[in-house]
C-alpha cells in the first residue's frame, strides 16, 4: 500500500498496532482423522495483544454490523484489562450464545467487515476474542445468573430449541415471563446439535448454553413436535399467552434426477444428523450406523456442504469431493471453511453438476454422471448462472453422495395452524421485523421466515421478536 508520509507519521504518533494474532489450530493431517475441534482458541497472552489492537472508535461501526448489537469495544476493553469474566458478561447482555457465535458467526461479513482497522490492515479478531471470553467464563465454571424481572404471570411457548428459540427463551425469561420450549428431537440445540459438527462446534458448549437457560428458569420439553399431536391452538388452550415459532427450514431438498434414491445417497440433513446428533461417527459405541464412503461426492458450496465433506474425510474417505456447479468465487461457504477443507485434502470440482446416478445390483450408488457447466448471465441472486456445456458429460466413481444444496420450509406447523399465512415457498409470512405473523399472539423468526440463513441472523430475529412479544404481553 502507498502510505503517505503524513499518514505514517499520524499512525506512529497514535501507537504501534501489532499484527492480528493467529489462532492456533490442529494440524490438518492430524485433524482430518479426528472429530476434535479444529481451532484451539487464543491463549491469554494472544487475547490481550489482540484486544490491544482495538481503536475504541467513538462511533463503533463494528457494532452496526452485529445482528445482536454486542457492545464490541466494551468487551474488548475488558479483555485488554484482563477482566475476562466481565467481558463475557458484557457480551451476554445482548448475546446469549457467545461461545457459539465466536465460532460459527461469519464475522468477516459482519462486525469485522466494518472494523476501521480493516481498511489499512487486518481487522480486530472480534469473533476470536468473543470465543476467548465465553470459553474463559465456561471453563472457570462461574456462570453468573443475571437478574430476572419479577414474574409477570404470562406464559410463552417457544417452538424449536435452535438458535432462535434458545435466544428468545433467554430474553423473555429474563423479563419475568414463564417460558417453555417445545423441541421435536430428543435433545435441545437444533442445528447447533444436529447440523454443525463437533470439530467446528463442540457439543459440550451447546449443552452448557442450554443448561444455562434451564438455570434461568426456562422449561425445555423435548420429543414434542408441535403440529403432530399438540398444535399451536392447543398451546393457547393450555394457557400460553404467546407463541414463538422458530422451527427452522428443516425439509431436505433433492435434485430429482434419476437414481437419487439409491443406497449411499444422503441429504446433508440425514448425513449430519446421523453423525452429529446420533453420534454415528462413534458406531458401534453408539447404535446409529452411517455409511463409510471411500469415494465421496458432496453436492453444494455452502457451509453445510463443507461440514459434510469434512465429516466424510474424518470417516475414512480416500477421496472427498465438493461438486459445485459454479466456481469458488460464487461459493456461499465462509472463506475459513473452504480454507480448512482444502488444508484437510478435500478436492474441489467446480462447474460440475450431476445429472444421473448409477447403482450396482444391490441398489448402492457406484457412479455419478456429471455435466460440465459454464457461467452465463447473472441470475436473481446476482451470481452468474451456470449453463450446461452440451456434450461434456463425464463419470465420477462414487460410493457415497451427500446432497447439500439447501433446505425448504417444513410444512408441519403452517399446515396445522389455521390463519397462519405463508409465502409462496411455504415460509411463514411476518408483518415486519418484529416477527408478528397473521395470527394474533403468534410470532416467528429464523430460517422458517427467511429460508436457510445463519445462526446469528436467526438470533437477531429472535431478539426483535422477544421485544415485540414482551410489549404484546404488557398490553
Amino acid at each position: 500500500m502507498n502510505h503517505t508520509g503524513a499518514d505514517a507519521m499520524e499512525n506512529k504518533k497514535k501507537r504501534e498496532i501489532k499484527s492480528r494474532q493467529i489462532m492456533p489450530e490442529q494440524d490438518p493431517l492430524v485433524r482430518r482423522s479426528n472429530f476434535e475441534e479444529v481451532p484451539l482458541g487464543f491463549t491469554e497472552e494472544q487475547a490481550i495483544i489482540e484486544a490491544s489492537r482495538c481503536l475504541h472508535c467513538k462511533k463503533p461501526l463494528c457494532v452496526s454490523g452485529c445482528p445482536v448489537d454486542v457492545d464490541i469495544p466494551g468487551f474488548i476493553k475488558l479483555i485488554s484489562e484482563e477482566k475476562y469474566m466481565d467481558a463475557a458478561r458484557a457480551i451476554k447482555e445482548t448475546n446469549s450464545l457467545p461461545a457459539v457465535c465466536g465460532r460459527v458467526c461469519p464475522q468477516e461479513a459482519q462486525c469485522e467487515k466494518y472494523c476501521i482497522l480493516g481498511k489499512k490492515q487486518d481487522p480486530v479478531a472480534i469473533g476470536r476474542l468473543e470465543r476467548f471470553a465465553a470459553d474463559y467464563e465456561r471453563n472457570a465454571g462461574d456462570i453468573k445468573i443475571p437478574e430476572i424481572s419479577e414474574n409477570t404471570g404470562k406464559k410463552v411457548a417457544v417452538v424449536g430449541a435452535g438458535p432462535a428459540g434458545l435466544t428468545i427463551a433467554g430474553d423473555l425469561v429474563k423479563k419475568g415471563h414463564k417460558v417453555t420450549i417445545f423441541e421435536g428431537l430428543h435433545k435441545a440445540g437444533g442445528v447447533l446439535i444436529y447440523g454443525i459438527p463437533e470439530f467446528r462446534l463442540p457439543k459440550a458448549i451447546v449443552d452448557a448454553e442450554v443448561e444455562y437457560l434451564v438455570r434461568l428458569g426456562v422449561e425445555i420439553r423435548t420429543n414434542v413436535v408441535i403440529g403432530r399431536g399438540k398444535t399451536v391452538d392447543d398451546l393457547f388452550e393450555e394457557g400460553f399467552n404467546a407463541v414463538f415459532l422458530g422451527v427452522g427450514a428443516g425439509a431436505p431438498v433433492f435434485m430429482d434426477i434419476p437414481g437419487e434414491n439409491l443406497g449411499g445417497i444422503y441429504s446433508a440433513n440425514e448425513y449430519l444428523t446421523r453423525s452429529n446428533l446420533m453420534k454415528a461417527y462413534r458406531f458401534p459405541e453408539y447404535d446409529t450406523p452411517i455409511a463409510l464412503g471411500k469415494e465421496v461426492a458432496v453436492l453444494g458450496g455452502g457451509n453445510v456442504a463443507m461440514d459434510s465433506v469434512r465429516t466424510a474425510l474424518r470417516l475414512g474417505a480416500n477421496n472427498a469431493y465438493i461438486v459445485y456447479r459454479r466456481t469458488e468465487a460464487e461459493m456461499p461457504a465462509r472463506g475459513e471453511e473452504i480454507h480448512h477443507a482444502k488444508e484437510e485434502g478435500v478436492k474441489f470440482k467446480y462447474l460440475t453438476a450431476p445429472i444421473e446416478y448409477i447403482g450396482d445390483d444391490k441398489g448402492w450408488v457406484r457412479q455419478m454422471r456429471c455435466i460440465q457447466m459454464e457461467l452465463g448471465e447473472p441470475d436473481d441472486s446476482g451470481r452468474r448462472r451456470p449453463v450446461p456445456v452440451p456434450g461434456s458429460e463425464f463419470i465420477i466413481d462414487v460410493d457415497m453422495v451427500v446432497v447439500a444444496i439447501g433446505t425448504m420450509a417444513n410444512p408441519v406447523v403452517p399446515a396445522t395452524t389455521p390463519g397462519l399465512d405463508t409465502n409462496r415457498w411455504g415460509y411463514i409470512a411476518t408483518r415486519d421485523e418484529t416477527g408478528e405473523t397473521s395470527r394474533k399472539g403468534v410470532y416467528a423468526g429464523g430460517d422458517i421466515v427467511t429460508g436457510s440463513a445463519t445462526v446469528i441472523l436467526a438470533m437477531g430475529a429472535a431478539k426483535k421478536a422477544a421485544k415485540a412479544i414482551d410489549e404484546y404481553l404488557k398490553r
Partner: protein, 278 residues
C-alpha cells in the same frame, strides 16, 4: 421419562409392551407410530402404536426382535424407563365406511393391522381379516383380531393351524369366489405386501400398505425414509406411512431396508457380547 408399565412375550420373538406416554395416548389415531430410543446412545426406531389407554395414559407397542434396539428393548422390564418416545407421528389411516374391507396381517404386522381393523369395524365396515404366520406358535393376537373383525381367517406357512399356505392365497380365493371387496389393507413383511398387491391389482381393488423404511428424525427433516410411490419420491414419516400399494416401488424399499445390513449385524453381536459379559 417413559416408564414401561407392562411387558410380555407374545411369541418367542415378539414382545408386547405398554408404555407410559399420556400425551401420545390422548392424541394418537389408528395407523400412527412413535419413534423411541432405549437409551441415550440408542438408535431412533419407528414402531406403530397398536393401542392406547387414555385413562391409564399408556400406549401399546408390539415388536419383533430383529436388531440391536429391539433386542435391547426386549431385555427391558416393567418399571424400566425408555430414554425417549416421540409421537404420534405419520398420517392416521383414512377410516370411513368403505363397505366390505379385508385386513391382511402377516407376522408382527398383525399388531399393526389390529387398530386399523378395529377402527374400520367401528366405522361400520364389514371387516374380514386374514392373519398369518410361519407356524402356529408365533401367530399373535388371534382373539383380539377375532373381536375386531366380522370374520377371521387364519393361515400358516407350515399348515400347523388354519389354511396351509400364505395369506395372499386366502385373499385370492375370496376374490375367486366372487366376494365383493371394496378395499384391502395389508401390513406385514415387504414380500407379503408385494404379493397382496399383485393379487388385488388385476381386480382394481384399492390396497393400502403401511411401509416401514429406516427413519432417523421421523419428522420430515432427513429424508432417510424416502420411498417411491407412483414414480414420485415421498417421505414415509410425514407423507405416510400408508400408501396406495399398487403405486409403491417395493424393490427400492427392499434395497433401502438393507442399507445397513452389516452394521446392524455388528451392533447386535457387540450388544450380545456385552450382555453375556455381565
Amino acid at each position: 421419562m417413559n416408564e414401561i408399565k407392562e411387558a410380555f412375550w407374545l411369541s418367542h420373538q415378539i414382545v408386547q409392551m405398554e408404555i407410559h406416554a399420556p400425551d401420545i395416548a390422548d392424541k394418537r389415531k389408528a395407523g400412527q407410530f412413535v419413534v423411541l430410543m432405549t437409551d441415550e446412545r440408542g438408535e431412533r426406531i419407528p414402531l406403530t402404536i397398536v393401542d392406547s389407554d387414555v385413562k391409564k395414559g399408556t400406549i401399546t407397542i408390539i415388536f419383533q426382535v430383529v436388531g440391536k434396539t429391539t433386542t435391547c428393548l426386549a431385555d427391558m422390564k416393567k418399571g424400566d424407563c425408555l430414554f425417549s418416545v416421540l409421537g404420534p407421528l405419520g398420517k392416521p389411516t383414512e377410516i370411513e365406511n368403505f363397505g366390505n374391507v379385508v385386513c391382511v396381517g402377516g407376522g408382527v404386522g398383525i399388531g399393526v393391522i389390529y387398530p386399523i381393523a378395529r377402527a374400520l369395524k367401528d366405522a361400520g365396515n364389514e371387516v374380514t381379516s386374514i392373519i398369518g404366520a410361519r407356524t402356529k406358535d408365533i401367530l399373535i393376537l388371534e382373539s383380539e383380531m377375532r373381536a375386531a373383525s366380522n370374520r377371521l381367517l387364519v393361515a400358516t406357512d407350515d399348515g400347523s393351524y388354519g389354511f396351509h399356505g400364505f395369506v395372499s392365497q386366502v385373499l385370492q380365493s375370496l376374490i375367486d369366489e366372487g366376494e365383493r371387496i371394496d378395499r384391502v389393507f395389508a401390513i406385514g413383511p415387504v414380500p407379503m405386501m408385494r404379493v397382496i398387491c399383485t393379487v388385488t391389482r388385476p381386480f382394481d381393488i384399492k390396497t393400502i400398505v403401511s411401509l416401514n423404511p429406516i427413519m432417523v428424525d421421523a419428522t420430515g427433516m432427513c429424508g432417510a425414509c424416502r420411498v417411491a410411490v407412483g414414480g414420485e419420491t415421498k417421505l414415509a414419516c410425514v407423507d405416510g406411512p400408508e400408501f396406495d400399494g399398487h403405486q409403491v416401488d417395493f424393490d427400492l424399499l427392499t434395497d433401502r431396508l438393507r442399507m445397513y445390513y452389516f452394521q446392524e449385524k455388528e451392533a447386535v453381536e457387540s450388544y450380545r457380547c456385552r450382555c453375556n459379559g455381565k
